[in-house]
């Protein structure tokens, strides 16, 4: 497994711990999609905005080209699954019927606002369901590498890419640490195995409050 894949799996595995059934979860493209493979609780139900509640893995031989997730990847359907149209699917999302959304980001700031759909100076070509999930899901968890490819912090004082929503996310999970957003501030809750707080400070532009001791109590 490449280092990139190892990091992604590490993040996904940690995010999976946040999901305890019964709950309905929508997974974004990328790292979020990996979360599903670490879930054993059969009361965690996966929703995909293209019209399926009850997403599961599919084996190569069982692939159906007309059964995909929001990333257009082949998936399977669980026992007890249901299909619905796009408006019904987003009614579930906007209407507050999805418990958790796990999303990737380009940037997230210390108030918990995220940017994950557009980059200044490039054509704005797609938004998909990101904005709907942000306003609708009861809890939003961000899974992301701590830094971008050029080594810059993705956790910023303020997003400079266009924001996805004015709503703050609830939790941020990276390969270095776990943060929660509370009253517009970032709390550092947890270090990933082998990571020091100095390393986190070093790679994080955003201000955060060290709650490690509070959490350990």
């Amino acid at each position: 497994m490449s280092e990139k894949n190892q990091i992604q799996d590490l993040i996904a595995k940690r995010a999976a711990k946040e999901l305890t059934g019964p709950c309905v979860v929508n997974l974004g493209i990328g790292i979020p999609t990996l979360v599903a493979k670490y879930i054993e609780d059969e009361n965690v139900y996966f929703h995909t905005e293209n019209g399926l509640l009850g997403v599961t893995d599919v084996e190569e031989g069982q692939i159906d080209p007309n059964l995909v997730n929001a990333g257009k990847l082949p998936v399977g359907e669980t026992i007890g699954a249901s299909f619905f149209n796009s408006a019904e699917s987003f009614a579930m999302i906007r209407g507050g019927h999805v418990d958790v959304a796990i999303l990737g980001v380009l940037q997230v700031d210390q108030s918990g606002q995220i940017a994950n759909w557009a980059v200044p100076g490039k054509n704005i070509m797609g938004v998909g369901g990101a904005m709907d999930l942000l306003v609708g899901a009861k809890k939003v968890i961000v899974t992301t590498t701590h830094t971008s490819k050029d080594g810059k912090s993705k956790l910023l004082k303020k997003c400079h890419f266009p924001i996805t929503s004015t709503r703050s996310v609830d939790m941020i999970i990276t390969e270095l640490a776990v943060f929660e957003v509370e009253e517009g501030k970032l709390n550092l809750l947890e270090l990933m195995p082998g990571i020091t707080i100095e390393e986190v400070r070093d790679k994080t532009e955003a201000d955060f409050i060290d709650q490690l001791k509070e959490r350990a109590k």
Partner: protein, 229 residues
């Protein structure tokens, strides 16, 4: 009197220059591939296409893009066909981007005689620019108008000869919504059955929404789009 067309040209006779078309599908999944293929062979220009994506590179609506038949596209995720960006840069296509939930809800509103509605989605973002904001019970919303089309081209799994439709798995997506929101609705289906073969409890699109039916000649497989038989 029958809604069933044998001939793709006749099925598409309702599509005229300058028309606004809704075209079903999430990428190629659930897209009316036969009808789109028919459009590539029809002389028609200046279309406005409302569809979640513009197909993939050179496939589905991506082929129409290359033919420069599309003046404007309204959708939520053009990223799945990176040629869209190239045409946009060259000024050869206008784009209107809507959040996917807004796109689908606006279609539903258009089909349901609703003039417009207030959604939380997009509030405070670049996609809310120029849109009316309103607070209802302490929550901020933006106004979105209903959208409709001259013609909807959709795909379903089965139609009965009256035009009742059922869909297949995630190929359902936008198709049932578009069926409600256009002046003329043409559907391609994998199978045409007799009335009564679809249970009244499971019909997703009742026949009053459907104007024309044609048997699909293109099918999406794991290996890509192929001809039936």
């Amino acid at each position: 009197m029958s809604k069933i067309h044998q001939d793709i040209e006749k099925a598409l006779a309702c599509v005229k220059d300058g028309h606004t078309l809704m075209v079903g599908g999430f990428g190629l999944i659930g897209a009316p591939l036969t009808l789109i293929d028919g459009l590539t062979k029809k002389e028609v220009t200046e279309l406005t296409v409302i569809s979640n994506n513009l197909g993939e590179i050179g496939k589905g609506l991506g082929e129409l893009l290359r033919q420069k038949k599309i003046k404007k596209a309204v959708g939520s995720y053009f990223t799945s066909n990176r040629e869209v960006g190239d045409y946009y840069q060259k000024g050869e296509i206008e784009l209107e981007l809507l959040p996917q939930g807004t796109l689908s809800e606006s279609m539903r509103a258009g089909g349901a005689g609703i003039g417009g509605y207030y959604t939380k989605t997009g509030v405070g973002t670049e996609l809310a620019k120029g849109k009316e904001e309103r607070e209802i019970n302490g929550i901020k919303y933006i106004f979105e108008p209903a959208i409709r089309a001259d013609v909807a081209l959709i795909r379903a799994w089965k139609a009965d000869t009256l035009g009742n439709l059922v869909y297949y798995k995630t190929a359902r997506n936008f198709n049932p919504l578009m069926a409600t929101a256009a002046d003329v609705v043409i559907v391609e289906v994998d199978e045409i059955v007799e009335p009564g073969e679809l249970s009244p409890e499971v019909i997703v699109t009742p026949h009053l929404f459907v104007d024309g039916i044609i048997k699909a000649k293109k099918i999406l497989t794991k290996e890509g789009v192929i001809d039936y038989e």
